[in-house]
């Protein structure tokens, strides 16, 4: 294994965790990381050795995520019962059916750009300028997205705390 692949391998668990947090679906996350790895290897000549490989990989991952989301726009179907009722006739993952009154549920409600920034800082411990580099935005925008996202999280968490909790009835 060459140096680049070895270095990428050290980042893979982090890339995968970030992908899982972005997509909240392991299949999609692994697809995302796989596309990211394939893209990174194809474009390895673009990586400057003096640069930060973590930033480079997360930048590829984030852009790939954006591409995936664009491709996953609602599909247009004819308004016939068979087509509509059979769209994506796939047994759903069970996890979303469960109560998920936690930080991930709250994160799900944030705009994507705020969620992506918060996750890079909180999960990966990235500095604001590294996040700016990954996302291709000014550092001031990173701070404002963090600030707005965290305020929304605070409000969501506060509302959940105030909400009556259901309990199991034996």
């Amino acid at each position: 294994m060459d140096d680049l692949r070895w270095t990428i391998a050290r980042q893979m668990p982090h890339l995968r965790r970030y992908a899982i947090a972005l997509t909240r679906n392991r299949d999609e996350a692994d697809d995302l990381v796989q596309d990211c790895l394939e893209r990174a290897l194809r474009k390895r000549h673009l990586w400057r050795r003096r640069g930060n490989i973590r930033s480079w990989l997360f930048r590829i991952l984030y852009r790939t995520h954006i591409d995936h989301k664009r491709r996953r726009k609602p599909i247009t179907v004819p308004a016939s019962s068979e087509v509509i009722d059979h769209v994506d006739a796939q047994a759903p993952d069970q996890e979303p059916r469960l109560e998920c009154r936690n930080i991930a549920e709250a994160l799900d409600r944030l705009p994507d750009d705020q969620r992506a920034v918060i996750l890079l800082v909180a999960l990966e411990g990235m500095s604001y300028d590294e996040v700016a580099d990954v996302m291709g935005i000014p550092i001031g925008t990173v701070r404002s997205r963090l600030s707005r996202g965290r305020e929304s999280l605070r409000q969501l968490r506060a509302s959940e705390t105030a909400r009556p909790r259901l309990r199991r009835v034996k």
Binding site: M12, R24, I75, S81, H86, D88, G125
Partner: protein, 306 residues
């Protein structure tokens, strides 16, 4: 160490909470002095730290998981398999092409409720779109359950707890709710309105079939209807927001209604065809139904991911 006297601002508080002032002891000490004097700032920093900690704790296990073989293969430059999700997307595309071509090769749905068919639901949503807009103009919001709270007016009709999606992040407020249709063919309409008077109508009706929840977009009676199936409910959304804004709103609602949780058994109308397996549950006046033994409680330990 010289004393840092520059005023402490939001940037300092965020950097402190995120642990980025460790390399600047003077500034860190200045922030800590500020926090001792300012309870609001102290609470703000504590909230950020708590959020970070929860996020790390929630996704902590993902870091320790073994990397799947297909990702190892991709790194090695070997051909790697794709996930079910990718294959699913391909099958949906193929399905659409087949249907659009005028043919249908699959059997009749066996998951409908009563004599309901999805196209009737979508068409109904489109027909009620204009009507909902007219009602919206008169709605005052009085008596509307707060967003995010369980809806209780379908008691004994639908054995579900369903929370009205909170779309405040999108700038929408719930202003009206109504049951439309007959008891044997019930649909709930939620009407949201934004500050700029953009209206969003969300239609829900029971179904009983475990299917996927991909958002579809279709046209009925000249109205664009976003439509998806989620567990025992079908959703249709109409809005006067256009194009990508409508798509984005549909995605936001789709995420929000993931809070739906199955409380007991399928709706009675669905049971008619499936045999009498259970009685519908009564939903309490506070909108909260008792959980039957064996169901997952809201305060059960969180499952991490799918």
């Amino acid at each position: 160490m010289s004393k840092d006297t520059e005023a402490i601002g939001e940037r300092d508080l965020m950097a402190y909470a995120d642990g980025f002032l460790d390399a600047d002891p003077a500034r860190k000490a200045a922030v800590e002095r500020h926090l001792e004097r300012d309870a609001g700032a102290h609470g703000h920093v504590a909230e950020i730290a708590a959020q970070n900690e929860e996020i790390r704790a929630f996704y902590g296990r993902a870091l320790a998981e073994p990397v799947p073989a297909r990702l190892q293969a991709a790194l090695s430059g070997m051909p790697a398999a794709r996930s079910r999700a990718t294959l699913r997307a391909a099958s949906v595309a193929a399905l659409t092409v087949i249907a659009a071509g005028g043919g249908w090769i699959f059997g009749q749905s066996d998951g409908g409720v009563g004599n309901w068919t999805p196209d009737r639901f979508v068409t109904s949503a489109a027909l009620h779109h204009g009507e909902a807009e007219a009602r919206n103009a008169m709605a005052t919001g009085a008596g509307i359950a707060p967003m995010g709270k369980p809806l209780a007016w379908l008691n004994q009709k639908i054995s579900l707890e369903i929370a009205a999606p909170d779309l405040s992040v999108e700038g929408f407020t719930l202003v009206d709710k109504e049951k439309i249709g007959t008891d044997s063919d019930p649909t709930v309409r939620l009407v949201y309105r934004a500050a700029d008077d953009t209206t969003l109508n969300l239609f829900l009706r029971p179904r009983w079939e475990e299917r996927g929840d991909h958002i579809a977009r279709t046209q009925a009676n000249g109205v664009t209807v976003h439509y998806w199936l989620d567990g025992p409910l079908a959703f249709a959304l109409t809005t006067d927001a256009a194009g990508e804004d409508a798509d984005r709103l549909a995605a936001a609602v789709h995420r929000s209604v993931k809070r739906t949780r199955l409380m007991e058994q399928p709706p009675a109308t669905a049971l008619d065809s499936a045999g009498s397996r259970a009685m519908p549950m009564t939903v309490g006046s506070d909108g909260l139904a008792p959980l039957p033994a064996g169901t997952v409680a809201a305060d059960a330990p969180d499952r991490q991911l799918n």
